[in-house]
Amino acid sequence: MEPYRYDLLEQYADNQLSADERSRVEASLNNDPQLRNELTALIASAEAVRYYGISQLVGEIQQEYLATKQQAARPAVARSIFGPALRVAASIIIIAAAFGVYKYSSVNTNTVAADYYMPYELNRVRGEANTNTLENAYNNKDWNAVISIANQANAGSKELFLAGCAYLELNQPSKAAAAFEQLIAQNRQTQNNYFQDEAEYYLALSYIRNDQPSKAIPVLKKIRADQSHLYYGKAHEASLTDLTILSWKK
């Protein structure tokens, strides 16, 4: 097909032509089955992209829904077992003080990191083969391959984020933090929001794992103040007090 005709047809499919231009294209379409075939393929392609976008968005929201549902279920069990005991304990100041002492001595980097940790599951449309090399490596837990892909030139938000997660899995929190910081800086520069919420939460987690609680606190406070943040629920679930105690111990 000649390039100028293709451009015109694409603009027709995208609804970007004036009424006159549309009429001209429609006249050609009436007389040219090949052109109609081209148009069908263009419209179906655009439609498939929209469908893909919906699939991704629903997948993300489902993951978010299931995570928050799981989190909500946990304290309910604890309340049913310990509820009465806690009510009694709350009335006895001495016990509360003893609890404070216990808390101060028992809180450590590992317990706090475990409270906040949630392995990142790469969202994909279930049952559909829409993974690429990076996603395959991540899903196969081939962390070194994930990092190697991200180290190539022009790493985007997704590559940097998954590399950060891979470093966390390899227990290299300082490198994980560097990857998440780079992603956030890159997003700031390009005014992009890809993986921004994820990077912020996992950056805080990397700081905790790296024994830098004072750097994690402001990041978590920011997440806890934003109801639309993807990790709002998770950031509220874990205790900022524990993190503060950790920072006092430093």
């Binding site: 392609s45 992209v49 829904y65 049952g127 985007g156």
Partner: protein, 206 residues
Amino acid sequence: MQVFMKSAAKYSDEELVDAIGNKAGMNQAIRYIYQSYFEDLSSLIIHNSGTRQDAEDTIQEVIVTFIDVVRNGRFRGESSIKTFLMSLTRNIWLNNLRKKERSSARDVIFEKQREQVEDNMLEHIAEREKKKQVLLLLDQAGEMCKKILLLFYFQELSMKEMLAHLPYDNEQVIRNKKSKCLQKLSEQLKNNPALLNSLAGIMKDK
């Protein structure tokens, strides 16, 4: 369910359909669907030979299909959204069971749940199967093409707005890239005439 409890607004069926059709309201609308219907849909599958994982997989497909049906103006509102989603779940789960060849369980659903609230329910499911095939072609177009096409067709950004999300310096470069990417996808589709013809049929019906 803190995020959902605090952020999901309440909608009537009509408001929910409007919100799905509106770019700014879609995320909240999908959250509302999960908050309001996930448990019922999940029970339907679990009580019909499905596991929790089956339920999660199927519900994701159901909600994607429902959003797609609404966005394409094909939700006729002859039944409530809940009834529509239940019927869609039943049909998609039945389809998945058929693929898994769990015939005895399939028969139970067939006999007990025969009623069909939307006569074109099967068309929606067939359409979904075709679109899933095109998604495989989209994967072959490469990550950058996928990103460019998503920004344009799904996020509905202008070329100028797309500049902020892409490593290119001017709108014309993005316009050319977008055009090439769409052409690439469209060529792949033309190489599969059977799929293209069935998609053409779907588009004619709209």
